[in-house]
């Protein structure tokens, strides 16, 4: 069922029908230029030098020999870099990460901390000099290991309350017929966007211009202006094409060091991170250790729910991966407690990564629900439907729309769920065990204040200018369709220009809020422009421009629980000899508001689900506790799903209409990954009878769990008790 939801206004036909990307031709011919590809005269090349120790301080930096090398122009470090203003709260409500405010002191808080920038005439010269630069450190002992019971852990808020609670948890657990108490872990995960961070900075007639690859030009502009104590109007940031972001492309060391170097040298300077540098400089998803306790009546109704999550952060920056937040939306219980906690370690600063909180949190809670289904003898979908809340479990607010049940019904029908034998470990084909699993998904539908400029041109066409970012989402195309309908014209007559901070403040491409936020601003400006045009006889040569600002409209929106929902289904094959898990097929059915462009929306949802496969089976950045550094920080050592790992993955949607929302868009960038790893893990249990609570589900974990299950089965067989299931994998 492919359906589109009509908006609250009578719209014309662009929104809801498939359109190829407006910049598609440029992308398939190589004409689309990304940040590191725009030519500048007199361009110099900067190469970052990162710390080789994990904790300590810089004793000396021996710049003299390097400054004598061919082509070297300067070496910036804490001894000569300008002082930055870092005591501020930025546009998104967060302080700057000190790892981005480079070269301010001699401290080294983690391995891969930026200690210097070598600038030279060519990239080869800069790289050679950077590798030749001798930095001496006073090294100190470090601790980089996240453990569940670290006494230094503390509750931390981030972008949601740290803790919530109601009811008497212990009493409800004691009164429950079925109780579950399990720990789930997820590893460090790296964004691994295909384009490493790149920026070129230059001074142009008294204005600082930065050509960058980021998720929000006014965001980076405002941060740079504050940090360098510049008037915001004297800083311009452009970001036309972005080779993926997933949360990592905000203010980073490359822009700040490029601005410092361009200022010192009075010429344009480009700084591009290497792939390996992105592992410590570009943020990452913290590993999590999560404990879930559930108590239920025999009919599956939840009496008690507790979800506690712990993640690591650096010693210089607090970032919360709010994994326990997902339970605040998904499931109610008489006693309901959630807590997000962090511990500071000598590790790089984590940051937002596709569905921060929801991705690891949904793995834990949705795997736990599957275990509860097994223990209560209920179908996993039926268990979830019996626990559908009428209102926000924590907030008590009504849901603007909650079509999770519709997703499960449609998904179950298309996936063939009714034919599933619920017993684990009973489907075998040769040396492969087959199984299916499901999980629920949710992701918040928020919006951020945005401004847009819409111009009626004298030739009858329209130009939209908004500091939006298209990081691969198809935003440029979606906004073209939105504008066309709002202006009652055809997409061919609308030109959407994005990625330029000169267009005014706008929400970033993040939190699945971009398209919703920008569409809101564009429709508001377009509506006013149409009113103006209705009383205008002729359009002057410069056109007629209307500017909108959604700040007030956002404040006026009724307080409700606003989320996308989804039902994930996976079928896997587990090779009992090699331990390899292959996903055979996946289906995701989503309720994600109004779908603007089915072609690109489906691609994004499938992309999120592909991340789920990758998260379940492949991704794991491993840190050596002795050195404090990563093993193999590259795309050979850090596995992301490739073509051969991704089978038939299908995404579709059900009607999801929010009557009081002026745009009705919820965003599709993140919901696809939520619950996807849990669906795969639940399918692995169904295939093998063994629970895997630690991601990724590597072949060695499958084999070790299988060996331990056989051993315990033979033990129990020896004492005359047959196992109900194969046990669990705790390694």
């Amino acid at each position: 069922m492919t359906t589109t939801t009509p908006g609250p206004r009578a719209l014309r036909g662009a929104v809801g029908t498939a359109h190829t990307r407006v910049e598609g031709r440029d992308k398939v011919t190589g004409a689309a230029r990304y940040a590191g590809e725009i030519p500048f005269a007199e361009l110099a090349h900067g190469w970052l030098v990162l710390s080789t120790v994990t904790r300590g301080s810089i004793r000396t930096i021996d710049t003299a020999p390097v400054l004598g090398m061919p082509g070297v122009l300067t070496v910036l470090h804490h001894g000569n870099a300008p002082r930055l203003h870092t005591d501020y709260i930025g546009m998104l409500g967060t302080p700057p990460d000190p790892a981005s405010a480079v070269f301010q002191d001699d401290r080294v808080p983690f391995a891969g901390w930026p200690v210097a920038l070598v600038v030279a005439e060519t990239p080869e010269q800069a790289r050679e000099a950077a590798e030749a630069l001798v930095v001496m450190y006073d090294e100190e002992p470090h601790d980089t290991v996240l453990v569940a019971d670290d006494p230094a852990a503390y509750a931390a808020a981030g972008h949601m309350p740290a803790e919530t609670g109601k009811g008497d948890l212990e009493a409800e657990l004691a009164a429950s017929a079925v109780v579950l108490d399990e720990e789930y872990t997820t590893p460090e995960e790296q964004h691994s966007m295909m384009e490493p961070h790149a920026a070129t900075a230059r001074w142009d007639g008294g204005r600082l211009e930065v050509v960058d690859s980021n998720q929000g030009t006014t965001w980076v502009q405002s941060e740079l202006a504050t940090m360098f104590s510049l008037d915001a109007s004297s800083v311009r940031v452009r970001s036309e094409h972005i080779g993926g972001g997933f949360g990592s492309k905000g203010l980073r060391a490359h822009q700040v060091s490029a601005v410092m170097a361009a200022t010192a040298l009075h010429r344009p300077v480009r700084v591009v991170m290497t792939r390996r540098q992105t592992f410590s400089l570009a943020g990452y998803r913290s590993p999590t250790t999560q404990r879930v306790r559930l108590g239920a009546d025999p009919d599956g109704r939840l009496r008690a729910l507790e979800h506690r999550s712990l993640n690591q952060t650096s010693t210089v920056y607090e970032f919360v991966e709010p994994s326990a937040g997902v339970a605040r939306v998904m499931y109610d219980a008489d006693a309901h407690r959630t807590a997000n906690r962090v511990v500071r370690l000598d590790v790089p600063s984590p940051t937002w990564m596709r569905a921060p909180g929801e991705a690891p949190g949904s793995f834990a809670i949705e795997a736990a629900l599957d275990e509860l289904a097994e223990r209560t003898g209920l179908d996993p979908i039926e268990l979830r439907l019996r626990n559908e809340p009428d209102a926000g479990p924590v907030s008590g607010l009504p849901f603007s729309s909650r079509n999770l049940a519709a997703c499960f019904r449609e998904g179950a029908r298309r996936f063939g769920w009714a034919d599933r034998d619920p017993r684990p470990g009973v489907r075998r084909e040769g040396r492969r065990l087959l199984g299916t699993g499901t999980a629920a998904a949710s992701f918040g539908a928020g919006a951020g204040p945005s401004t847009a400029l819409v111009t009626a041109e004298a030739d009858g066409s329209f130009t939209v200018r908004i500091a939006a970012a298209d990081i691969g989402t198809g935003a440029r195309t979606a906004l073209t369709l939105i504008a066309a309908d709002a202006l009652e014209t055809v997409p061919e007559r609308v030109r959407v220009r994005i990625g330029d901070s000169d267009f005014g403040p706008a929400m970033i491409a993040g939190g699945s809020m971009g398209t919703r936020s920008w569409a809101w601003a564009i429709t508001a400006a377009a509506a006013e422009l149409r009113e103006r045009l209705a009383v205008t006889r002729t359009i002057p040569p410069e056109g007629i421009t209307v500017r909108s600002d959604t700040t007030e409209a956002l404040r006026a929106l009724a307080q409700k629980e606003r989320h996308s929902f989804g039902a994930q289904f996976a079928e896997v094959a587990v090779d009992v000899d090699t331990g390899e898990v292959r996903v055979l097929r996946m289906l995701g059915i989503f309720a994600a508001g109004r779908i603007v462009n089915p072609l690109t929306a489906r691609n994004q949802l499938v992309g999120g689900m592909t991340w789920g496969i990758s998260m379940a089976l492949h991704e794991e950045a491993v840190r050596d506790r002795n050195t404090g550094r990563h093993y193999a920080p590259d795309l050979a050592g850090y596995h992301v799903a490739t073509h051969a790992d991704v089978p038939a993955v299908e995404a579709d949607w059900v009607d999801d209409h929010d009557p009081d929302d002026p745009v009705g868009i919820k965003g599709v960038g993140e919901i696809g990954i939520v619950g996807a790893a849990a669906a795969v893990a639940n399918a692995v249990w169904h295939a093998t009878g063994v629970r895997h609570r630690n991601l990724p589900i590597r072949p060695d974990r499958i084999l070790a769990a299988s060996a331990s299950a056989s051993a315990s089965a033979s033990d129990r067989a020896g004492t005359g008790t047959a196992p109900a299931d194969g046990g669990s994998a705790d390694a």
């Binding site: 190829t20 398939v28 011919t29 190589g30 990239p123 295909m194 384009e195 591009v272 691969g472 490739t642």
Partner: protein, 192 residues
């Protein structure tokens, strides 16, 4: 008399997209950097610079290579095709058209490498080269269909972090069909 220090640069001529380019390169310069930094052919992308992601894939004498692990000086005398040389003027190559029509990308950064790789995959398959998932590898076996599994296996050197694999595979399959139709038409024309 001590020997003169060896020069670290050399003048070379690169044949790229049917054009000759004369340039002097640092011997350490990779083909990828020569394209991007010296010749303003920035369609070829740098994703990892160490041969792990496939974003820098170009065709060297019609075979796919990762240009980040190819020195520019070693590419002299070879026929280099980059993404800028794939289309026929304004007419997109069938593989490019299929990527556009089927949304075989998202951010677009891996796309030039995927397209170059796909064009080589189609030729390799048509030439009877087996892959790890080819069941029957006997030389006398006629070419087997380029199935989705074959495409996935053969394209696995090209990462797409956006996760657009499903539509990329569809695009490669459609590009292969168009290639086969064009080949059949050419054969028929030659026979007529």
């Amino acid at each position: 008399m001590a020997p003169a220090p060896a020069s670290t640069t050399s003048p070379i001529t690169l044949h790229i997209n049917d054009e000759k380019h004369h340039l002097s390169v640092d011997h350490r310069t990779t083909l990828l950097d020569a394209l991007r930094e010296r010749l303003d052919l920035t369609g070829t992308k740098k994703g990892c610079d160490q041969g792990q992601c496939g974003a820098c894939t170009v065709l060297l004498d019609r075979r796919r290579v990762v240009s980040c692990l190819t020195l520019a000086v070693a590419a002299e005398g070879r026929e280099i095709t980059t993404i800028e040389g794939i289309a026929d003027g304004d007419d997109l190559h069938p593989v490019q058209q299929a990527f556009l029509d089927l949304d075989g990308y998202q951010c677009g950064y891996c796309t030039p490498g995927q397209i170059c790789s796909a064009i080589a995959v189609i030729e390799e398959h048509a030439a009877g080269w087996p892959s790890a998932v080819t069941d029957d590898v006997r030389p006398e076996t006629p070419p087997l269909p380029l199935t989705p599994d074959e495409i996935r296996e053969r394209m696995s050197g090209n990462l797409c972090r956006c996760g657009a694999y499903v539509s990329i595979v569809q695009a490669v399959a459609r590009g292969a069909e168009a290639h086969e139709e064009a080949r059949t038409a050419a054969v028929e024309e030659a026979a007529a």
